[in-house]
């Protein structure tokens, strides 16, 4: 099979496909970025210098960024034409994860809000102590 044809083949997810040095460097960069993002997350969660409600959003953004770092540098899921199937599968997975999580949280919040108050239930809390 010619090299030209090799380039047109799909690539396995997680499979690095260049030389050993650049592959190792990819992992080192990934590790570095991940460490930085983790450190920043821990700092953001403990600092008082950020606006309160923004902290949770910021943490989520940092988490998504770090997941991206893992995907690109460790799992080699990139946007090249040989990776299309891998990316499409990932996109489908992300969509489902989003629908399940956001859908559930939205629905349960409404369900809980519409629950009638139940005075006798609060006694259980006192009983358990």
């Amino acid at each position: 099979m010619t090299d030209h044809e090799n380039d047109l083949l799909d690539v396995a997810p997680g499979e690095p496909h260049s030389n050993i040095l650049s592959e190792s460097i990819a992992y080192v960069i990934g590790l570095g970025l991940a460490v930085i993002l983790t450190g920043v997350s821990f700092w953001v969660a403990s600092t008082a210098s950020l606006w309160g409600p923004g902290v949770a959003v910021g943490l989520v953004v940092l988490a998504i960024a770090q997941m991206g770092v893992h995907l690109v540098f460790f799992l080699h899921v990139t946007s090249g034409p040989d990776n299309t199937n891998n990316v499409l599968a990932l996109a489908f997975g992300v969509l489902i994860v989003f629908l399940v999580m956001v859908g559930t949280i939205w629905i349960m919040a409404h369900m809980n809000a519409n629950m009638a108050p139940m005075p006798e239930m609060t006694n259980l809390q006192i009983q358990r102590g």
Partner: protein, 214 residues
């Protein structure tokens, strides 16, 4: 492309003129098919975790008068766990590179390091669970605790299964060498291991950091 008038020749008559390699070339090789199938399985596992995350988010305040996250979680422990798992993922990546170079010594050393760091992660987690149970916060105490132990415990169970798999891979590489099917399995293991670290990012962010915000 053959015209209608002549009988089309059989065999691979499509050499990349009309497609981007996305499926016209006939069945793809095992080295692509196997990891892709495993990637799909990993994505389905992510959906499983999303159901557990959704449950956790719905039940996080259902403490039934019992202890809540900010009373139970220790960020310093979580930081060490996170570091161990991340390092484990990194070393695993290097092990795959060593395996591609068919270097038995480095592959086994790096895989052993992967397992060791994974074991450190697990040990800390088990310690955390035991101390929570000892201080009166077992999973049976409240819905919040049930969902915490299940979400984090499910991840831990995956790590445990991964370590069993890792041990099996190390033995298999040792006895069979770097045959193609062994290499494919190692690649699948590394996809699994990296995916577990991705899920851990979500866990430490949502459960331990957001969960203990003032």
């Amino acid at each position: 492309m053959s015209t209608v008038n002549e009988a089309p020749a059989v065999g691979l008559t499509h050499h990349g003129s009309e497609d981007t390699g996305l499926g016209n070339r006939g069945p793809q090789s095992k080295s692509i098919v196997v990891p892709y199938g495993f990637w799909l399985f990993v994505l389905s596992d992510m959906v499983l975790f999303s159901a557990l995350f959704a449950t956790y988010a719905s039940l996080v305040h259902a403490t039934d008068g019992g202890p809540a996250g900010h009373q139970l979680f220790h960020r310093s422990l979580v930081a060490v766990e996170t570091g161990a798992l991340l390092a484990s993922s990194f070393v695993c990546g290097l092990a795959v590179i060593a395996a591609k170079q068919k270097n038995m010594l480095w592959t086994q050393v790096l895989l052993f390091a992967t397992g060791l760091l994974g074991f450190v992660f697990l040990a800390i987690e088990i310690y955390e669970f035991r101390s929570m149970i000892a201080e009166g916060a077992p999973p049976q105490r409240s819905a919040f605790l049930s969902s915490f132990f299940t979400l984090v415990g499910c991840h831990g169970a995956h790590v445990t299964a991964g370590l069993l798999w890792l041990g099996t891979m190390m033995a298999q590489i040792w006895t069979k060498g770097f045959q193609p099917h062994v290499g494919r399995r190692l690649l699948c293991f590394s996809i699994f291991w990296h995916a577990l670290d991705i899920i851990w990012v979500a866990i430490f962010t949502i459960v331990y950091l957001i969960g203990t915000l003032p």
